[in-house]
Symmetry: C2
Subunit: 443 residues, 2 copies
């Protein structure tokens, strides 16, 4: 997309700088923990017009940390380092970075007091090894940690920034948004608002999408930067103008033209999940939804229960892996399952009808099938999933088939179910002239 | 943990080598997609005795890719590159790596045929841009892709390996386990079995754990490498011996001593989730479990439904965010919710009793509370969650309180519920002399 260093729109006061993120820890390299810091920090910076230029994850040995910090500091203006600030012997970031910066570490009584207060709160005494966390760079600042014992550390010299943050996400994330971002903004190292426009689509492949949007996007040549990103069943297209030749208004206008061209395959502008888009449509029409799922085991329910205020439109969900639970909770007749199997269109329809009735919901979705890698009995192929949808107009079922690992099959089935619901909700909204969300985004 | 380069146990034929992983894509740096490749590749290598030494994630510009590949190739023996093999204009990996290796790209008809066959299967014509994927390095090999159009590319020279893999996880993962790992093993670049021992614990903090295990671990000095990794509510301690001074049998013996010292805080050796450990205990005692959840919205059900053969012991789950759904599905009395609120011990107990009865289960768990960042009505603090457990012996509830972001609060509540169930199942098993899983692992 944009080349290094980052550049803001023409006329902005945003100083083009290079950001790098260093994430430390064998647990990341051993795949024991996902690198959530890259996702979080990258997204936070991306929305403020900065494309993180590089993320390196290395082992937590002192020599390795020193080498990587030295390398990053030579190339980047802002270096963010996460992890290795804990109390145990394999936490060596503070000392390693101090060595690179040529800084002494000094004991800070305010940090010690904060640690002691935290331990007192949970009724424990400060462990000896926690006092290692009470040191800061002699010319540096402390970023207080509201959710843990290790404070963040901030150091600035010659216009370069080095920022050390603790590894636990619940400590790092509020520290980053509440303390780090405002400091970066004050120094003119961030753009003050979102700097790209994202078109979210569903039901169209990445290469077909590129071909389809070509007539709208091509005329802008080098002024427009386009990036595609495929997820399980939806594809995003991000528009930006690194040179600043096109302002945000123009980018939004281009995105609007793309949306019109895409019709129902257009989901939304921005980052809303398929679940959230459905939720908004349900809320606008004051309808409720219930879900029943076998093979996806809670993943469909989570698409809604994760949203704020879900209890307003989400009537509830049933996870029914066993035949007994389908009978007990949803009233699916045993003879139907014996005749057609639990991974069948018939069972999906009985499930959707059962859950809609139990929960007195206007709309309902059901998913059943074999997500596993071995396929099911009765010749059901690997990844064959049955989705059923009930609306005030009737009940339908569909068979989906996505070969692949269990997790992928489940996520794709959930996304396909959500996209089906979305299309029906959009249709229902179009036919009722009082509301107008799809009108607004499709203008 | 281990220092670069990797080293196998003494006497093994495992050649010590340095592995690096290069993950490409603005979508990773913008936090739009999690870096699942690091988790997957890191874990796969880790279990075979290799600690990935470095992962760099960079933008997908040709010049950047070239620079990073050149840098990795100078330091590492095996360089794995993921992403950027797609059909669109922002896919530049093939060309950039060819430039570094000084290799021509040649059109490969076998790849073209595989792409055409794949498109034929789904009833589409090959798009022009997909033909870019039919090129390989002139002296390289092709790793066929069973799940997508972009094949992997393999190149070897002077004992160094460069391997390019497509970005979609459902394409990369089977390609890695079925084609890449066997090739690396053939060349003696991998250890043929697991090379470390992991002790999984719950209910004890990272620093307390380190202090508690000190008497067992300290005597081994430099010969033993110890790494801790804290998750939401459980902490892992990994033992290895990079010098090879301690063999796997000795590491297991040390882990056994740690397990005895930890008592009930010891969960298992290895990587089993709390859900899986509970599932094994349930299966051994031929008991079933049902769950009801409000605030965690499907996350608890997923701990079980993700396991193979879950329908044997997992009676089912109910996701009931709204008051209505608690009444309709679980028979929680409305007056009880009006009196105590839905985030109360009383509601949790009514939920657990309701779901156990509806699903005729031996054990049941229920979670209700306010995971959001604003707290609940009636003075319920942020992160206050109520968990209830029903066993054949009776019903209990507990209040948990973890301030933090919604996702953390939910995961910690689920883990606390699972750990509670685990302890009760272990106790039940101890009092029944016929079975002996906890005996085996605690020997």
């Amino acid at each position: 997309m944009v080349s290094s260093p980052n550049a803001g729109p023409a006329g902005s006061t945003f100083r083009p700088v290079r950001y790098e993120l260093l994430t430390l820890g064998d647990e990341l390299l051993l795949g024991l923990t996902a690198n959530g810091h890259l996702s979080f920090v990258g997204a936070q910076l991306g929305r403020r017009g900065v494309l993180l230029q590089r993320n390196a994850t290395v082992t937590d040995e002192a020599a390795t940390i020193e080498r990587e910090v030295r390398r990053s500091l030579a190339e980047a203006d802002v270096v963010i380092v996460t992890g290795g600030l804990g109390p145990t012997v394999d936490d060596r970031t503070r000392e390693a970075v101090a060595a690179v910066l040529g800084q002494k570490l000094v004991f800070d009584e305010s940090i010690r007091d904060a640690i002691a207060a935290r331990f007192a709160q949970i009724g424990r005494r400060v462990a000896e090894n926690n006092l290692r966390q009470a040191y800061r760079f002699e010319d540096g600042e402390v970023l207080p940690n509201a959710n843990g014992t290790a404070p963040g550390l901030w150091f600035e010299r010659d216009g370069k920034v080095v920022c050390l943050l603790p590894g636990p996400p619940n400590e790092l994330q509020p520290m980053f948004t509440e303390q780090v971002l405002p400091r970066l903004e004050q120094r003119g190292l961030l753009f003050e608002r979102e700097a790209y426009v994202q078109i979210r689509t569903a039901g169209i492949g990445e290469s077909s999408l590129e071909v389809k949007l070509q007539p709208v996007l091509q005329p802008f040549g080098e002024a427009l930067s386009v990036a595609f990103c495929a997820h399980q069943g939806h594809v995003d297209c991000r528009l930006s103008s690194p040179s600043g030749a096109l302002d945000l208004g123009k980018l939004e206008e281009i995105a609007g033209a793309c949306a019109r061209l895409l019709g129902e395959d257009f989901v939304c502008l921005g980052h809303d999940s398929l679940g959230r888009v459905c939720a908004d449509l349900l809320r606008q029409s004051e309808k409720t939804l219930a879900v029943a799922e076998a093979a996806t085991g809670g993943l469909l329910a989570q698409a809604f229960s994760d949203l704020c205020g879900a209890c307003k439109f989400f009537a509830g969900g049933v996870v029914c892996c066993s035949q007994d639970s389908k009978m007990l909770l949803l009233g699916v007749p045993e003879c139907l399952m014996l005749q057609h199997g639990v991974a069948s269109a018939e069972c999906a329809v009985a499930m959707v009808a059962g859950v809609a009735e139990s929960l007195q919901a206007d709309f309902a979705l059901a998913i059943t099938g074999f997500a596993g890698s071995t396929g099911g009995p009765g010749g059901n192929p690997v990844g064959a999933m049955h989705v059923a949808l009930q609306t005030p107009q009737g009940t339908w079922s569909r068979q989906l088939s996505y070969p692949g690992p269990r997790g992928t099959v489940k996520q794709r089935a959930v996304n396909a179910a959500l996209d089906w619901l979305r299309r029906e909700l959009v249709k229902a909204q179009r036919s009722s002239p009082a509301t107008g969300n799809s009108e607004r985004v499709m203008q």
